[in-house]
Amino acid sequence: MAMQWEGKSFIDNLPKIYGIYTGGFLVFFALMAVCEQFGMSAQTIGIMFVLFTLVIYAVIGVLSRTTAVEAYYVAGRSVPPVFNGMATAADWMSGASFVAMAGGIFMSGHPYMAFIVGWTGGYILVATLMAPYLRKFGCYTVPDFIGTRYGGKLTRFVAIVVLVVASFTYVTAQITATGTIAARAFLIPFEIGVWLGLFGILVCSMLGGMRAVTWTQVAQYIVLIIAYLVPIFWMSMKQGLGFLPHIEYGAAVQRIMELEPLLGVGTAAVDSVEGLKALTTLHATPPEGALAAWKFVTLTACMMIGTASLPHILMRYFTTPSVRDARTSVAWSLFFIFLLYFSAPALATLSKLQMIDPNLMTSIIGDSIDKVNSLAWIRNWGEVGLLAIRDSNADGILQINEFFLNPDIIVLATPEIAGLPYVISGLVAAGGMAAAMSTADGLLLAMANALSHDLYYKIIDPKAETRKRLMTARVLLLVIGAGGAAVASLKLTGILGAVAWAFCFAMSGLFVPLVLGVWWKRANRQGALAGMVVGLGVGWWYLLAVRNPEAWYGLAKPWVGLDDLRFGIVGTIASAIAMIVVTLLTPEPDEATQRMVDEVRIPSGDTIIPSKA
């Protein structure tokens, strides 16, 4: 094999390798654009995009296979900060961010912006409280830190339980997203799309573990960010907002705010269509009152604290060469994430203005319904039931509350609405696929690694040989992946609900023990156990209670507006109280543990858990 996926020369060549890859992808894009001009069908272009990118990820996954423990679990701790930043960004930005975020802003207005703020601000907590210290610790997994810092097999076991609960909730949502996109691109039933998506995900991670996932995630980041930004730039050029709409679109926001009272945004729809919504929320005007503000900041808090507790994110910072690199890498991660998240509101704003501004060619509100119904994109999306028009007042004119859509189509349909060539839609499908696959890979690996390293090796069979451990890890990856796909094909919850729950589970069980493990020397095993058990237990109870107000354990109404997307607040507070009280009631940890905490706090010196080649 000519290519070595480690070592100095490989690391030095990374910018060149990914530069060539990016160039290759752009050439492929240009080729598809040319083929479209020569009459290649939209369907074929979609399939080509998804297939081409899948093959590349698979090739990277196979080339970076490994049999070394350090490479399998932490990519040999050799990933440079900028590249780890890209990998984390792909790991982080899920199918939900890519597909649903702009649509959510489009439909739900300012309250939805809490996700944007929450999913970026959480990295401040990761950098200041966690990542550098966990890197210094030298652990392979998050339960590895909990288990070693606090000691005891039970502690480690409970941490594994929290990790699996949070990650499994999350991964089903991602497999659902890959299934949806695969189903649409290849025109196959959703259930088959799910298994096809899972196959793609596993090819990336099975053979090379963290090392393979790292290098495919970098590749996936490049695809997803190109796929997100190109349509926005293109559309902005067409609308005459200049090349970088991000600076200019304030004017578009104001224009929407002017138009809203004229169009009557806010009047409830008369008809209702199953699964679709009419636009009734103001775009940039936050709802009045303290409860609305409270709901905004509590959702932000859940997403931020959840970010800092999600194991598949934290473990990405175990792969940097040094503690200092871990810190820089968090900054780069946020930068790469920022590129997408500060574009999402721009996309939502521009596509909304296109639909509602009577001065623009593309506008549909206020047009005759016959004319609107004859538009190709209205027909296409209407046929698959993601969009509907009802002439409620029978005046033959489309009003804002007569237009129903599924928010998820905003990102996917915008290129068509703006009249961009189909090649852009193919690109967007490939981007959505990359976003969902990269997150699913990170999550599956986090679970399989915790189960193989912490449960199998550290608790069940500490004498297991390397070969057997890695074999277990791979088998677990298959089993968990299959389980996730099976649950995903049942379609239990919406993508966004599942994602928010995952954050709340993670923060309820893990945030307090992780933070206090570094920042409070006195924190001990009994306290950590209490914190995890009470946090997860109370959080879980509260989730069930607010969702089942009729049941005996139910709550008639949520406490101060804390609904099922925000149950992490309740869980985390319970976890903090339990951990602090129990710690103070029990003896302080022994001197060795306290010395260990001292060592974690300085970057120099050996890792706490000695590294093995």
Partner: protein
């Protein structure tokens, strides 16, 4: 590697902790405070933007990104001052 004296160790940790608190204070302002007051802030025009909306769409995000690069630098400076940065002991 020269052993760090207990006093230096305590001082290093004190500065690290203070830096953490400073950054979390800035974070608190841009993560929560400005959004709590989004309604009144929206009346302010910021280069063509309603300010409350601007913070949630771009302002807070930009602050977070800049803050993290700054944090990485500042923490490294503290580590160097006390001789506990990593390159120090790889000799």
């Amino acid at each position: 590697m020269a052993q760090l004296s207990p006093a230096d160790r305590a001082e290093h940790w004190r500065r690290t902790r203070n830096l953490m608190f400073v950054h979390l204070a800035i974070w608190f302002v841009f993560a929560y405070l400005v959004h709590w007051f989004a309604v009144p802030l929206n009346n302010i025009n910021f280069f063509g933007w309603p300010l409350g909306y601007y913070f949630s769409a771009q302002g807070s995000l930009i602050v977070f990104v800049v803050q993290l690069f700054l944090f990485a630098r500042q923490q490294h400076a503290i580590d160097v001052k006390f001789g506990v940065e990593e390159n120090n002991n790889k000799g």
